[in-house]
């Protein structure tokens, strides 16, 4: 479907006006930066209402098929709406797991019935989704998952636990990776993938207190939990492949996400802005040549990432390792975010040692962001695992 440039321009003006007019007023409490940090009911309700409002206005899932609740429009429109959300820095779309991981997965390989059942609720935020991949003893090594699922009549009976389930206590569904067999040719063969209803007897999400002192994650316990057999996605034993497909959506290596921003992210311009008003050792921070050099280095790194995305759109300029750019996105962006926030503390002199409180610079959001940045460098496969993946799958180096 070809789109006229003036159509996009017109849409761009429309969407810009809508967000300017409809952005929610400041709630009077500190909002979380991402869906992983929603620890209070008031935060949750505020963000759920906001996503619902954006969806009802037509700016979410624009490229998803109409018959399931999308608008069936070219991706270019959604991209414009998403960019506008980022530009105007409106609150993020709460249902990240549904919008960006489970939704695209279901549209990609789900049955007609699954699409009918789940997609609309993902977009409207009526059905919140969470993810049950990691286990307490198997952080980055998903293939070793031990959580058991045993078929019993029309149900599967689940036993075990999952960790880092963001929004676990609010979610209606979980994408769940569980072991249906232990005697396959390898550990991967016994894994199966479920779209599990969270409100089943025996499922108990317990909030975990994070290093920031806030809540946002759960450990989800399964104690003879019964879920309907038709919540199995694909066939038994296909869990590993489906989980890997999910991760390509999570890492942004494949398109198909519903769109919308997933975080109210601090970016390099915020750090520059902080530097402009920072005083260190009695002098404006921007007069310090060492701080200037460090800041310029971080700005260069942010530029690297923006330019890599631009080059990925010119296939003739791919290097001999064409998957390097898409597969390294999470690693590059999460590591930059962590070091950027770390540097922001250095701009604050002795106040670098404060934490979330009225006396801290910007209420302590930099300290909180620095701590929360580890969720990016650890979650979804740690940075160290990302290096292994890139080394092995992109450069063809042998496994360790």
């Amino acid at each position: 479907m070809s789109v006229q440039p003036q159509e996009l321009d017109e849409f761009s003006r429309e969407v810009s006006a809508w967000f300017a007019e409809n952005r929610p007023p400041e709630p009077g409490f500190l909002l979380p930066e991402t869906f992983m940090e929603v620890g209070e009911d008031r935060q949750f309700e505020f963000l759920r209402d906001w996503q619902n409002k954006v969806y009802e206005a037509g700016y979410l899932g624009m490229a998803w098929p109409e018959e399931y609740g999308g608008r069936g429009m070219p991706q270019a429109f959604q991209d414009i709406a998403t960019r506008e959300m980022a530009r105007q820095r409106v609150p993020f779309m709460l249902n990240t797991i549904g919008l960006n991981w489970a939704g695209p997965l279901i549209l990609n390989m789900g049955t007609e019935q699954e699409k009918q059942k789940y997609i609309k609720g993902i977009l409207s935020a009526e059905d919140i989704w969470c993810q049950g991949f990691s286990e307490p003893d198997h952080g980055s090594d998903l293939g070793s998952a031990q959580c058991r699922a045993v078929r019993d009549g029309d149900d599967y009976v689940i036993n075990g636990s999952k960790i880092w389930t963001s929004l676990g206590s609010y979610a209606r569904y979980m994408i769940l990776l569980a072991r249906t067999s232990t005697d396959g040719p390898n550990k991967y063969a016994g894994l199966s993938y479920f779209l599990a209803p969270m409100h089943s007897p025996g499922i108990d999400p317990k909030p975990i207190k994070k290093l920031t002192g806030e809540y946002g994650f759960c450990q989800t316990f399964f104690d003879n939990a019964r879920i309907p057999a038709d919540s199995l996605m694909g066939k038994e034993g296909e869990g590993w492949n489906i989980a890997m497909l999910t991760l390509t959506f999570e890492r942004g290596a494949t398109g198909g996400q519903a769109g919308g921003i997933a975080a109210m992210d601090l970016n390099i311009n915020d750090v520059v802005e902080l530097a402009r008003r920072s005083v260190r050792g009695g002098r404006p921070a921007l007069e310090d040549p060492l701080l200037r050099d460090e800041l310029v280095s971080l700005m260069l790194e942010a530029r690297n990432n923006a330019l890599m995305s631009a080059r990925a759109r010119v296939p003739a300029l791919a290097t001999d390792w064409p998957t390097a750019i898409p597969m390294s996105g999470k690693l590059r962006n999460s590591e930059l975010k962590r070091r950027m926030c770390q540097f922001a503390l250095a701009l604050q002199g002795a106040n670098g040692a404060r934490f979330v409180s009225a006396g801290a610079i910007d209420g302590g959001k930099w300290q909180r962001s620095y701590f929360n940045a580890f969720s990016g460098t650890i979650g979804g496969g740690t940075s160290q695992i990302q290096h292994n993946i890139l080394g092995e799958r992109v450069l063809g180096l042998p496994k360790g």
Partner: protein, 373 residues
Amino acid sequence: MAAQIELNEEQQMLLETAADFCRNQSPMGKVRAGINEQVSVDAAVWQQMVELGWLGITIPEEHGGLGLGLSHVVPIMESMGRHLMGSPLFATVMATQAILTSGSETQMSDWLPKIAAGTAASIALTEADGNWNLEEVSATGTIHGDTIRLAGNKTFVLDAIEAAVIVASVRIDDQPRLVLIDQSCLPTGALERETVIDETRRSYSLCLDEVSVAADQLLPASDFAAIEQTAMILLCAEITGGMAGVLHVIVDYLTTRKQFDKHIGGYQALKHPTVQILLGLEAARSHLYHAATTLDQPDELTRRIALHSAKAQGSEAFAFAGDRAIQFHGGFGFTYECDAQLFLRRALWCQYQFGDERYHRQRLAPLLLDQSA
């Protein structure tokens, strides 16, 4: 920031042609053999480069060239860098751009048609103090009627004995200026070969003390910014190509060499920094083609930021890649025999020509931090 990267059809064709040409003309054995040759490239290969039109890419059609932008030289320099291919192309393009941006009509018609037809040229900017600021020049020119008497010394004059003309910077009436020095004006001994870290380069010092040129050899303009920008984009192209080359050398070794019964690429201590090199290359190529895109556009500030960024990022990443390449080859890496040293030497050459990463970050700081928002 507009993170714009474009590649037109001509550039794409040049990229394909140059990749094939350099792969065929510059296998590693030939690179090594070439180190001991008097000149950077054999005449037959140079002639083919002339026939491909590479010498005249930026030269206007009325002077016998193709009349394309400098960005079209980028794919060629990148491919040459990938295969460490030598030739006076770098020096010649530098001189060409100096004549194009600062020369008179007569000077252009004197030299550009010859260059397009294969005459090599060079440029003499740097002096013994190693200053990267091209406008801080100690060599002098004194005008006596119809002649300019030159004095002082230049260094890092590439492929100077092959160059029919050398564009040199000298201070005249306390202003940095550019003069054309015809090879025939140079007394015996004025050029002396220098030992430089990249052995694929032929670098010369140039003594100007006994040299005089006619007054009409003075270039009317002195666009040192354009000269610096040319150097930066050409070096960044060589850097990007070189990084791809050295990464292949590393990956080949990591997937064939065994220690303790397994391929060494399986060890994370080697695997992870190799991934860092890959990401450095991806960043370098992105900066390079963004900078190339800005060359053809009018916004000077965007172009300066793009070029300084590219040189800062590329210099550091290539030097890291070369350094690690030696280390990862273990004992073999310590020998002259190992190709890693060729790339490390090239990386250091590119890093310290026309500003290293520290210098360019310093140049970037006021552009990025002190502009009123």
